[in-house]
Amino acid sequence: MKQDIILAGVGGQGILSIATVIGRAALDQDLYLKQAEVHGMSQRGGDVQSNLRLSSEPICSDLIPKGCCDLIVSLEPMEALRYLPYLAADGWIITNTTPFVNIPNYPEETALRAELQRLPHVIAIDVDAIAKEIRSPRSANMVLLGATASVLRILDPDKLRDGIRKVFARKGEAIVDTNIAAFDAGYAYAKEHLAR
């Protein structure tokens, strides 16, 4: 079994901490993993992505081929759409709905919404609102990870919770609890969304 994930967002939004938690969980579950990151110039407020590949078998390429990506996980709606040619025919998009507008020609939100609705498997979730609701506005990325866990078949959600505990352990128990709560809120939202 394999799952290929593209993590997308804008430089500074925190996609790499999502990758770190998934990586930790994958290591504990003895999966093979490859994760290509973007560093350097592109991090300065530009679009960023990370190719994350998980598999029970050895993985060859560090990059995901076009048409093979099982999940696009994005902290920003336009960034979710940037990688469509990579998405498998039956692949999922899990995206934050709050736009990050730092360019003058950012598209109309209605156009973005229409484009997302055109696709068969989309979980659109306002992670910023949910993070605020549970009073941990800085854990929006863990809300998104929670939503992702609902369709990330290769990893057990409990392994992801363990991953959060290990990754955030040195920041103290309160931070760990906030992030777990954010994860659970995202997970619950997505489960409810999928049931509908």
Binding site: V10, G11, G23, R24, L27, Y32, L33, K34, Q35, A36, E37, V38, H39, G40, M41, S42, Q43, R44, G45, G46, D47, N51, I59, C60, S61, D62, L63, I64, P65, K66, G67, C68, M78, E79, L81, R82, L84, P85, Y86, L87, A88, A89, N102, I103, N105, Y106, P107, A111, L112, E115, L119
Partner: protein, 531 residues
């Protein structure tokens, strides 16, 4: 005891070097190589073993310091991005002539597709040029093992070796099994001291020896555990896959490649293995990340009766990094079903951070230069290069480290006025200081603006070599004290900043304006640490 770690290619190399008995790492930050040195700086073994790990001023000083370590019999690692090879080329070529005593591994991280670079030069050419071996790993696990092998090779054959990574190897994580800690070397000096004095009388002898050694390096590549000829039933095509290109090939054949494949991760290029492949296959496809080095050699000038396919005949794109997709197309396999690209998305280029001092500096500079329509502005490599983009459009050139100072000097010599140079603090101490000395000596009419954010910003905030001493450096180089000015780039200071810039443009000689405010990224980190 084997341990499992999730490591970037850069980190696998760093840990491999630590476990191989490293005594010092010498480097200047540069994407995608920076994380090698940072990993070593943060590793407990570094303190335990007193391993040198401070940043060097530039790649040349790094290379030469490492050669000094090697001279003393200890193991040294030099790390840089590909264009750093140009800066250290003198030391690098010299090191091939002296040879190594303690293991000396030079690591160049190439950036095909120019994700964060000004060109996509291929460092394998440098190894070839210097007649030294080159290692090019295809996986993070191989990287870890290979660096140990490279150090052993360097000591056994008394020669520096080059490790070449490319962006996708340097910046991709995978699980790596590690184990086996080697002791550091003690002091020992070269057996052949004449070789380290490159007077012509010695160098001529050494050159003959190096040419003979190069033939031995080629023999080791034929038998290398990192080079492998695998058979395949379909002889209509033979494939040569170098470095990580091998992964893109195998990605496209999950059930095994039907064609014979020569995997190459150690150079000089194993010509004997390639001949064995060509004896079975009359058409060869060369997959190599970067420039078509192997392909050009195989193609040659005269018709050998073997068809060579690759970047030069359009089978693969002529430039840019390889992907599983372009390799798939080169293999003649059909595209996988995929969604069409979205028509709604627009590019999101990188930008200077909000609140960054470079922004305030460019705002003031642009305001002043409105009154000087003949002005030319020569900029340099760093975060501030983003000032070329909207909304600043602040300068005319950006070429390579330090070129702002020297190009503005040349422009002033040619009659351009005002001739303004813009350089960051770290780039200035990397390669700008000697240029400033030239400007002073010729009394060039330039205004040099050092946008000092007290760090090496673009690569993530590493120490900058001249922090706190820029004024004394400029004075020492002969800049007149009354034309060495300091300003603080903040919106409230615009009037003062503009006045200073205007005054120094109007001065006909060398002026230096140091525009100093801490990088907001490092300032935030420092504030968080204090809490």
């Amino acid at each position: 005891m084997a341990e499992k770690h999730l490591l970037l290619g850069d980190e696998a190399l760093a840990l491999g070097a630590l476990h191989a008995g490293l005594s010092g790492v010498y480097a200047y930050p540069g994407t995608p190589s920076t994380e090698i040195t940072e990993f070593i700086q943060n590793h407990p073994l570094t303190r335990e073993r007193n391993i040198h790990c401070d940043w060097s001023s530039n790649e040349k000083t790094a290379m030469e310091a490492a050669l000094g370590v090697s001279y003393c019999g200890k193991r040294a690692l030099v790390c840089m991005k590909h264009v750093g090879m140009n800066v250290c080329a003198d030391g690098f070529m010299g090191a091939a002539m002296t040879g190594a005593n303690g293991g000396l591994v030079v690591t160049a991280c190439d950036d095909p597709s120019m994700h964060s670079s000004q060109n996509e030069q291929d460092s394998r050419f440098y190894a070839d040029f210097a007649m030294i071996p080159c290692f090019e790993p295809s996986s993070q696990q191989e990287t870890y093992a290979m660096v140990r092998h490279a150090f052993d090779f360097s000591e056994q054959y008394k020669i520096p070796v080059l490790m070449r990574l490319t962006t996708r190897m340097a910046h991709s994580r995978a699980v790596v099994e590690t184990g086996g800690l080697r002791d550091q070397n003690g002091l020992s000096f070269p057996e052949n001291p004449r070789q380290w004095v490159l007077l012509p009388v010695n160098a001529k002898v050494r050159n003959e020896a190096l040419i003979a050694d190069h033939a031995r390096f080629a023999e080791t590549a034929e038998a290398s555990p990192f080079n492998r000829l695998a058979d395949g039933p379909d002889k209509s095509l033979g494939i040569i896959a170098c470095g990580i290109a091998y992964n893109y090939l195998m990605e496209n054949f999950p059930d095994g490649c039907p064609y014979p494949v020569l995997k190459v991760s150690q150079y000089p290029f194993p010509a004997g293995l390639a001949r064995r492949l060509a004896a079975q296959c009359r058409t060869l496809l060369v997959l190599e990340e970067g420039q078509p080095l192997v392909e050009t050699r195989l193609k040659g000038v005269f018709d050998s009766g073997i068809t060579i396919k690759g970047r030069l005949d359009g089978t693969l794109p002529r430039a840019g990094e390889l992907t599983p997709d372009c390799v798939r197309a080169a293999l003649g396999l059909p595209d996988l079903p995929q969604h069409e690209a979205s028509q709604v998305t627009v590019p999101r280029p990188p930008a200077l951070c909000q609140g960054c001092g470079h922004r305030d500096f460019y705002t003031a500079l642009n305001q002043v230069l409105k009154d000087y329509p003949t002005a030319r502005v020569f900029s340099d490599i760093g975060c501030y290069t983003l000032g070329w983009l909207a909304p600043f459009h602040a300068f005319h050139t950006c070429v390579e480290m330090g070129a702002s100072v020297t190009m503005s000097t040349g422009a002033a010599h040619s009659g351009v006025w005002p001739s303004v140079a813009v350089i960051g603090d770290s780039t200035f101490t990397h390669s700008g200081m000697t240029g400033l000395l030239d400007a002073v000596n010729s009394n060039a009419d330039i205004t040099l603006c050092i946008s000092d954010n007290l760090t090496t910003g673009m690569t993530g905030g590493q120490d900058s070599a001249g922090t706190g001493r820029l004024e004394s450096i400029c004075l020492g180089l002969g800049v007149a004290p009354e034309h060495l000015r300091t300003i603080v780039p903040l919106p409230k200071n615009y009037p003062d900043m503009e006045k200073t810039i205007r005054e120094e443009i109007e001065y006909h000689g060398v002026s230096v304006i140091i525009c100093r405010r801490e990088c907001i990224q490092t300032a935030r980190r420092h504030a968080a640490k204090k809490q």
